[in-house]
């Protein structure tokens, strides 16, 4: 348990992805089964553990400690689990062999009733040190939020076993904590476990960006073109009555989309883009990415949302046709099969991503510039002969995104960075003008912390330090007046309406594309520019 606690403590405070990976890999190497697998499940949220209510834990401490001293302590620390972990004291000396392992804790809790569970927790609190008490309390009260995504955990497993992450993703859904067979394979002590799950995830094929030197490779003879839809990539699989929707990293997101699952009355595996529709008086139209966000990251979905934002899938590939694995066939053959496959599907839930005819590269340039729908974010170019291979091979599939949107905004706040950047002001909030032309003021529209070079970062940092008007902890506000300040050219992928932001807009994927030292702030864009863009993106033609 102490090793797990140490891992948690370090993960929470380590900002860098690589640092987190090192900590996880070292932990997997140094920790025996079943603890490492249980820890993994705890981190990814796959550990089912009896829930103990915070009030019950609070009652435990009240039996042991002066109420006022506890109140002073809680007031100072602010977090209940942390306060209790620190103030807990016992007269019994901690004996090394009495310290429970994570495995002991999980096993005992699985067998315990809720009231027994509290007494068990009390016993363990006496046996553990402060750091492990904190981990235990977070674990049993279900508050383990430490910034490790399932994706990161799988990456760490891949690094630990020196295998490709797609291999982990493929196996993942057939495995259960504590993943002993998986670890044995990763340590080369056993064969790769067979995926036992029905309807498992099959690692998806990804594209690489099309860049200048590759333009000459593209011809209508070699590549077909499709629109690149701005939804979320999904894999639909239905096998022997089992239906699942996976994200492109293999997370099972079926629960959030019952309106798709209900109609997955086929046998096979499909690849496509999940989009949402909007019911309007004029009929059904495709929603913007903002509409899709209404449906994302939800464990369950309400009837009202199903009605207002119904989901559908725009299909572009077929992996399994019945039980026939067609991934080894060339794209054009899979496409032909897909076209006949779609005919048996419910048309309001599934349709086909059309091929975009073109003759020359110049046609593509035009198409990319003027896509027929705002939910299109560019073109996909797929080699006719390409087989379906997992990962991101360069050549068979290219994505060619339309140019980002650009605005000029004014730097208003800067925040100190983390880790490598902790001595720099590296997170920038930028604003555009609003209000009457004669008396304009700035309203923040976004925040960006990348896009610039290391040299530009130094220049930005120096500007912030020399033009600070106020400081609030790690944040500085920066001089931003019509004739004095710094204009940032900001590139972004799209806009959503936002109730949380004062400006009413939220940018997708904003980054600093240029520093406009030459431009006086008053010449930066106005909020109206963004509002117009927002209206455009919401109106399909």
């Amino acid at each position: 348990m102490e090793e797990f606690a140490e891992l948690l403590d370090r993960l929470v405070l380590t900002p860098a992805r690589n640092g987190k990976l090192t900590l996880l890999v070292d932990y997997f190497r140094d920790t025996p089964d079943p603890d490492r697998g249980l820890a993994l499940a705890a981190l990814t949220g796959d550990l089912d553990i009896a829930n103990v209510k915070p009030a019950m834990i609070r009652a435990l401490i009240a039996e042991r400690m002066d109420e006022q001293l506890f109140a002073y302590s809680y007031d100072y620390v602010g977090d209940l689990a942390e306060t209790i972990s620190l103030v807990w004291s016992t007269d019994e000396p901690v004996r090394a062999n009495a310290v429970p392992t994570l495995g002991d804790i999980v096993t005992s809790l699985a067998l315990a009733s809720r009231s027994d569970a509290v007494r068990l927790v009390e016993k363990w609190l006496d046996q553990l040190d402060a750091s492990a008490r904190y981990a235990l309390l977070k674990l049993v009260t279900g508050g383990l939020r430490i910034g490790v995504s399932a994706r990161l955990a799988k990456q760490a497993l891949a690094q630990f076993g020196d295998v490709d992450v797609t291999e982990i993703e493929e196996l993942w859904h057939g495995l259960k904590p504590p993943y002993e067979a998986l670890f044995a394979w990763l340590e080369s002590k056993a064969d790769k476990p067979q995926s036992l799950a029905t309807a498992p995830f099959r690692p998806v094929m990804l594209s690489t960006p099309l860049e200048e030197p590759d333009y000459t490779k593209i011809s209508a003879e070699a590549y077909v073109a499709e629109w690149k839809w701005d939804g979320i990539r999904v894999q639909l699989t239905a096998e022997g009555g089992r239906r699942r929707i996976y994200s492109r990293t293999g997370d099972d997101i079926s629960q959030a989309f019952p309106d798709i699952v209900d109609f997955m009355n086929f046998e096979g595996t499909l690849d496509g883009e999940l989009l949402v529709a909007r019911n309007t008086d004029a009929g059904v139209e495709i929603g913007a990415f903002g509409d899709l966000q209404q449906r994302l990251n939800r464990k369950t979905v309400s009837a009202r949302q199903l009605e207002s934002h119904p989901a559908f899938v725009r299909l572009y590939d077929l992996l399994l046709d019945g039980s026939d694995d067609v991934r080894g066939l060339p794209f054009v053959e899979r496409r032909a099969r897909l076209e006949s496959f779609v005919k048996q599907l419910e048309p309001t839930r599934f349709d086909l991503s059309p091929l975009v005819p073109y003759d020359s590269f110049d046609d593509l340039v035009e198409l990319r510039k003027n896509p027929p729908h705002p939910i299109i974010e560019g073109l996909m170019l797929k080699q006719r002969s390409s087989t379906y291979v997992p990962g991101r091979p360069k050549g068979p599939w290219f994505k060619w995104k339309r140019d980002p949107f650009i605005i000029d905004a004014v730097l208003v706040y800067a925040q100190r960075g983390h880790g490598k950047r902790s001595s720099y002001y590296s997170d920038y909030t930028f604003a555009v003008w609003t209000g009457p032309e004669t008396e304009p003021h700035l309203v923040p529209v976004g925040k960006a912390y990348f896009g610039f070079t290391d040299d530009e970062l130094k220049q930005l940092d120096a500007f912030v330090r020399n033009n600070t008007t106020e400081r609030f902890g790690p944040v500085r506000s920066v001089r931003a007046e019509p004739e004095h300040g710094l204009v940032l050219e900001v590139a972004f992928e799209g806009l959503n309406r936002s109730k949380r932001h004062k400006s009413g807009v939220a940018m997708r994927f904003p980054r600093i594309s240029r520093l406009r030292w030459d431009k006086p702030p008053i010449e930066a864009d106005r909020l109206e520019t963004l509002e117009a863009l927002l209206r455009d993106s919401e109106t399909a033609d």
Binding site: V12, L13, D66, E82, L86
Partner: protein, 338 residues
């Protein structure tokens, strides 16, 4: 016997004052005669006419204030009594930093111990706390909350060394106060078997040098400057600096540093998070809760006066355990200095 201890020592805006002996202890303003417990700048200020302190504290003040920090100085030998205007004064080790002392003040059978800042656990860089029985014990309360229970210091050093091994391509930047903590961290690293060169920030140089001259072996130290080599020399290195240097441009010379902070405050996760500390090291030069309450129990004074920190919790504990206690409300001592 003096009826009221306040006639011997009381709190004033300038700090603790002895009406009977006409002197101050750790005054926060310039006074005529000051007795100083230890060299931290909030306790040892410059500009007093006469200063009495241990020789080491006087030396440290000399280093920090460049020579003429006081009109006149008098070195106090540990355990030896001196008379000031009819009040007997003696200094006893406090275990806080090199040269630190408790000041015992006595007259007509009334004895008050002003313990200054103190700690009870072993520190290889200074003489350990010596308990002195007394009528009134004046205790600090920096970490006087039951949440502060400092773990074994050696485990914290082991945590640092483990991380150095785990991230050999990064430098470990350890924030530590220039007087006391920095030298203690260095000495403890040596005791744990770490014998590589330790790099130090310029602000630590004079004090490290002084510690060495007092017989505390700190092993090979080198200034953390890039003039002597390239940035990559610091990969895998341990660098000690005052915490303020982290946020300074100074820190940029290190490759992807792991920021560490050696302080009792690191017990609270949110403190570490707010300051962007990746590896908190819970190492304190003050008593934790158990040590504070244990010291009061051990000394059994008839009164406890509580100063700088979380007075209310310690006063509450005294209440629960039948010690007469009150907060002193002295101002001017930095809460953060650990």
């Amino acid at each position: 016997m003096l009826k009221r201890p306040e006639a011997l020592l009381c709190s004033t805006p300038a700090g603790l004052y002895s009406p009977a002996g006409d002197f101050h202890i750790d005054p926060v303003r310039a006074v005529d005669r000051a007795l100083i417990t230890h060299g931290h700048s909030d306790h040892a200020r410059s500009g007093h006419r006469k200063v009495m302190a241990t020789q080491q504290t006087l030396d440290i003040m000399g280093l920090r204030y460049a020579g003429n920090f006081a009109g006149e100085t008098q070195a106090a030998d540990l355990g030896k009594a001196t008379e000031i205007n009819g009040v007997t004064v003696s200094f006893y080790p406090a275990g806080h930093v090199l040269g630190s002392a408790q000041i015992v003040v006595e007259k007509d059978g009334m004895r008050i111990v002003a313990s200054g800042d103190y700690k009870r656990r072993a520190d290889p860089t200074c003489t350990g706390f010596e308990p002195v029985s007394c009528d009134v014990f004046i205790t600090e309360a920096t970490f006087a909350l039951p949440v502060f229970r400092h773990p074994d210091s050696r485990d914290e050093i082991a945590k640092l060394l483990k991380s150095v091994e785990q991230f050999p391509e990064r430098s470990h930047l350890v924030g530590a106060y220039a007087l006391g903590k920095a030298q203690r961290v260095i000495r403890m690293l040596r005791d744990a078997g770490y014998d590589r060169t330790i790099y130090i920030h310029g602000a630590l140089e004079k004090l490290c040098h002084y510690y060495k001259s007092q017989g505390i072996d700190l092993g090979p130290l080198s200034p953390a400057t890039t003039e002597t080599g390239s940035v990559q020399d610091f990969a895998g290195a341990v660098v000690i600096a005052p915490p303020s240097a982290f946020l300074d441009r100074w820190a940029r010379r290190f490759p992807d540093p792991v920021s560490c902070f050696a302080s009792g405050w690191m017990r609270i996760r949110q403190r570490a998070r707010q300051q962007g500390i990746e590896l908190p090291l819970i190492l304190s030069d003050h008593c934790d809760w158990d040590e504070l309450t244990g010291t009061i129990t051990e000394l059994g004074p008839s009164q406890v006066w509580v100063t700088h920190g979380r007075e209310e919790a310690l006063v509450r504990w005294c209440e629960l355990n039948d010690y007469a206690a009150r907060p002193l409300h002295l101002v001017g001592y930095e809460d953060e200095g650990d």
